[in-house]
Structure formats: structure tokens, C-alpha cells
């Protein structure tokens, strides 16, 4: 029975996870390593990679700051509307990414109140980098906060109270006591947040406008190349994303293995 269950799980995983992964790398390298690197070095591919890195570089740090603030507020203070705030943080998980993108179109599009005013003042949000960043931040917001809330709730306020009773001010308490206590959980959240930020398709597709070489991120570029029957180039770029996923997976496993007791939610993802 035990072996049957294990065999079924392994066969299922092989079919749905390992084979596609193999297919991605196989397709990417079918015409040789030369073509693989060539397609990665094309102007559009380079631009897509740069844009993806840029978006992640903006979205992840912002979500780290907001995530810590939100988790801190929720875990360490009692206030009205706390349950509502937790629900709000979960909103991006429960809303389809396409809807998240559409929200920004409605907010900043030409038919909205804000859009024409911003455009008149020379600020482009939709079909430009700011829109992509906003959509990515929205979609990836829960990762850091969700990871930290149970961890910080679990740790309570004892250490912080001890620090201030010893004379530490707010910043000293945060950097010397709170941050070291949550650092592995935070890193874990950042990892997941980053993976999602780089891989996000739906929300970004709606707001990007897919201007080649300007507003296409890697996932968008992959889709465009594929639709143009440029299989090798598409899979070359896709293999980079798959590689990112694998690295994330390995780091995540290392974190869970090494610091499992400090990751309150390690079993959940």
C-alpha cells in the first residue's frame, strides 16, 4: 500500500512537473547551445530580462518594507479592524491576476479620472514601466506579510519589551532584536515574493501593452515569441525562468531544513 501510494505520487509528479521541466530545457537546447545563447542575446530578450530584474528590484524591497510594517502592526498591536486588514492582505491571493491588472486599467486608463490628469502632467502609468511595477507589487504583496505574521505573533512582544526596558530606542530595538529574530522568515518570504514578481504574467499582461523591447517582461516575451512560432527563443527565455524556479526551490528547501523552527509557516506553502 505504502509503495503503491509513493509510486502514484511519483508518477503523477513525473508526468506533470518533471516532464514539462525537461521539455522546456530540451526545446531550448534543441538547436544547440549556440542558438540558445544567441536567442538570449537578442535585443528584445535582453530588454525583457532587464525589465523583469528592474520590476523585481523595485517591487520586492517595497513589499519587504510594507510586509514588515503590516506584520508588525498585526502581530504586536491590538486595534479595531485587524481581521479586516488580514483579509485585505490576502486579497491578491484570492483575486485573479487578470482582475488585479484590470483594476489598474480602470484606475489609470484613459476613461478614468486619474489617467488623463496624470498624462497631462507627463506621467505614464499604463502601458509603461510604472504600471507593470504597480501590478507586480499588488500581486506579490501577501508573500512577505503572510510569512511574517504568524512568526511575529508566535514570538510575541517579550523581546522588544526587554530591549526597551534596557534603554534601546525604537530603531535599535528593530535592527538589533526584531530583525534578527525574523530574518530567516523574512528571507523565505522575499524568496517567494521574488519568484512570483519575476514570473507574474496575468496582471502584468493587462497593464503592459506588450510593447516589444519596452514593456515586455520575460513571461510576456516568452508568450509573444511562442505565438510567433519562434520556439527555440521562447523556450530559451522560459528556461531562464525555470532555472529561477529551481534555484528558488533549492534555497527554500535549504531554509526549511536549516531554520525550520524559525519559519512559523514553513509547512504551509
Amino acid at each position: 500500500m505504502q509503495w503503491l501510494l509513493i509510486a502514484i505520487s511519483l508518477a503523477f509528479m513525473g508526468l506533470f512537473l518533471v516532464m514539462p521541466l525537461y521539455a522546456v530545457f530540451h526545446e531550448a537546447l534543441r538547436q544547440g547551445v549556440g542558438v540558445f545563447f544567441q536567442s538570449l542575446q537578442s535585443r528584445d530578450a535582453q530588454s525583457a530580462i532587464r525589465l523583469t530584474l528592474l520590476v523585481a528590484a523595485i517591487a520586492v524591497p517595497l513589499n519587504v518594507v510594507f510586509g514588515i510594517c503590516a506584520a508588525w502592526a498585526i502581530a504586536k498591536y491590538e486595534f479595531k479592524g485587524k481581521a479586516f486588514l488580514i483579509t485585505l492582505i490576502d486579497l491578491p491571493f484570492s483575486v485573479s491576476p487578470v482582475i488585479s491588472g484590470l483594476v489598474y486599467v480602470l484606475l489609470f486608463g484613459s476613461g478614468s479620472l486619474l489617467g488623463p490628469w496624470l498624462r497631462a502632467n507627463g506621467v505614464e502609468i499604463l502601458f509603461a514601466v510604472p504600471g507593470i511595477v504597480l501590478a507586480t507589487i499588488f500581486v506579490t504583496f501577501p508573500f512577505v506579510a503572510r510569512e511574517l505574521i504568524p512568526l511575529m505573533q508566535d514570538q510575541g512582544t517579550g523581546d522588544e519589551e526587554a530591549a526597551i526596558s534596557l534603554g534601546a530606542n525604537g530603531w535599535q530595538t528593530f535592527f538589533r532584536v526584531t530583525l534578527p529574530n525574523i530574518k530567516w522568515g523574512l528571507l523565505y518570504g522575499v524568496l517567494l515574493c521574488n519568484a512570483r514578481a519575476m514570473g507574474e504574467f496575468g496582471a502584468v499582461a493587462v497593464v503592459s501593452g506588450k510593447i516589444r523591447g519596452q514593456t515586455t517582461t520575460m513571461p510576456l516575451q516568452v508568450e509573444m515569441l511562442y505565438n510567433e512560432y519562434n520556439g527555440t527563443a521562447a523556450f530559451a527565455l522560459a528556461s531562464l525562468l525555470a532555472l529561477l524556479a529551481l534555484v528558488t526551490l533549492v534555497l527554500k528547501s535549504i531554509l526549511e531544513w536549516r531554520f525550520g523552527d524559525e519559519l512559523a509557516a514553513s509547512g504551509r506553502h
Partner: protein, 346 residues
Amino acid sequence: MQVSVKNVRKEFDRFPALHDVSLDIVSGELIALLGPSGSGKTTLLRLIAGLEYPTSGAIYFGDEDASHKSVQERNVGFVFQHYALFRHMTILENVSFGLKVRPRETRPAAAEIRRKALELLDLVQLSGLEKRYPNQLSGGQRQRVALARALAIEPRVLLLDEPFGALDAQVRRELRKWLREIHDRTGHTTVFVTHDQEEALELSDRLCVMSQGRIEQVGTPDDVYDRPASPFVFGFIGESSELPATVENGEFWVDGRAIGVAATDQAPGKGKLYFRPHDVDLVEADAALAGVVAGHRRVGGTRRVELSVGGDHRKVELDLPFDHPAGEKTRLAFRPRRWRFFPEAV
């Protein structure tokens, strides 16, 4: 440092945790805040520390009104119930934390901080463990690190929240003795919270018994044990039995019988008679309390006998020497040797 709590009231979400509490803590004394859970003792300690602020009333450190000063400004040493040691720091780093976070003008040199921290570790008998991390220490050792860390900032007052609550009985007794020694050596004004009356009686110069957000009695251990000010204090400090009684003709009457105990200085009327299991004499006389032995068990060097007294079978406990022949009897007559009578509120 003398600390005065003046008419302090504290509410949490409109729910009062302390009602109009006043307490003077004498400089250099070791005072216990004793009470059952929910009595407000920890709240009072946190108010003194500045971890909470009073809803009304004031707290003075010496002549200075500290009510609105932050915990940092009050400069108190606080030892938390679960120690709250910084788990990512070594023992030495934990103890030096309070000095390292001082603003540059008042911060001692690094070498000086290290010397001081090592000296404190020596005081709490943990020399040689300075490179360990908190999770490598036993509960008793962590407790001592927490105390050294609190002492490092040269606090004006030392506050301990259930300092021995999480330790096993043996370590507890050792640390109790040791805390008393440290206190006598350093002379810090020390306030500690406990729900263990034995601990409070043994350790403190004075104790402050609290119940339901109010102070019931403040006094030396002898005062509180021998002259409890209220039925609550009598019942909470040590073992006790109670019987409804009446004072008439200068004597106590229980169930319509004189029990042969003179009601010295008591006004006639109804009330309750309290006495401790070890404060009774067995008698052969008629004028006495009598009861049927309902059971007995060995408690340390004595035998505790449970009697059922009167028609409504009220339980009374007596302590007898374990080899006392009365332990075999089915019926015992006794008189309280020492007692307290609390008249019914009219």
C-alpha cells in the same frame, strides 16, 4: 530609590485591572506583590516599569513624577517571566546589550562594557559561559542571565515578574536563596511578582497581597501571616479552615455550643472564625469543637486530618504529629490556639 504608587487606576478596554491602588516602596527593600492570577499584580509591576501607563493616578520615583516617562527614561531593570533573552546573541552580548545601546555620550568604552558584563556574569555565577547562546543554558541559568542583563544598566529599581515561575521546585528554592543574597549584596530596591505565598514569605522584607485589582494588605511576612487583615488574606497565605461562629458573652459559639475559646476584644455578633491546621490543640473537654474524622494523609512530617464538623459537615483540617494516636480515632475534639474572627459585614 523610593517608589510611590499613588491612587493608580488602570483599565484595559474599559475593564478595570487595578482600582485606586497606592503603595509606598521603601528604598532598598525587597517587596513581593503576591496574589492569585487576575489580581493585578503583574499590571502593577508593568506600570512601575513604564511598560503600561496608568489610566489615572501617579507613580513617583523619589520626588520625581515618573507617570509619563517612557520605560527607557525610567531606567528600571525588568526580568521577564520567560526571561526574554535575545536568542541570537551570546550570553555576554545579552548582558552588555543595555550598555551598548546607550547614546554615545554616556556609553562606556567597549573594553569597559566587556569588563562590566563579565563582572556581572561572575556575580550571577555564570563565569565561563559567556560565549554560549541562551538555548544552550538551563532554565535556572537563563534566569540568572536575565538578572545580570537587568543589573547591567544600573537600574534605579529592579522589577521581577514571576522570576521562578518556569523552574522546577528544587532550582526554585536554590534561586530564591540566591536572589536574596544578591539583593543583600547590591542593595537594589527590588519588587517581585509571585503567586506562590511560600516564596513571598520566605524571600521578601515586606509583601503586598493583592486580589481583584486591589491591595488587601501590606506588611512584613510575620504581620501578614499572623495578623491577616481580611478573610482573603487569611485564606491565601497558608492553609486555613473557616467556620461560621457567633460572639456572645465574650466567647465563641459554633452551632449553638460554646467552644471554650475566649473572644478577646471582639464585639458580639455573627461572623467567621479562621484558624490554621497547625494552630489547634486537641482537648478532652466538653466545651470544644468536635468533628468526625473524614480522612487523613501524610504531609511531610505531620499527619493532616480532615474533620467534618457540625450538622452540615463543614470540612476542617488539623495537623497532628504523624505518630499521634489521635490519628487512629474516629472523633476528635479541638480548640483553635490562634485564630482570627472576621465579623459579617453589616
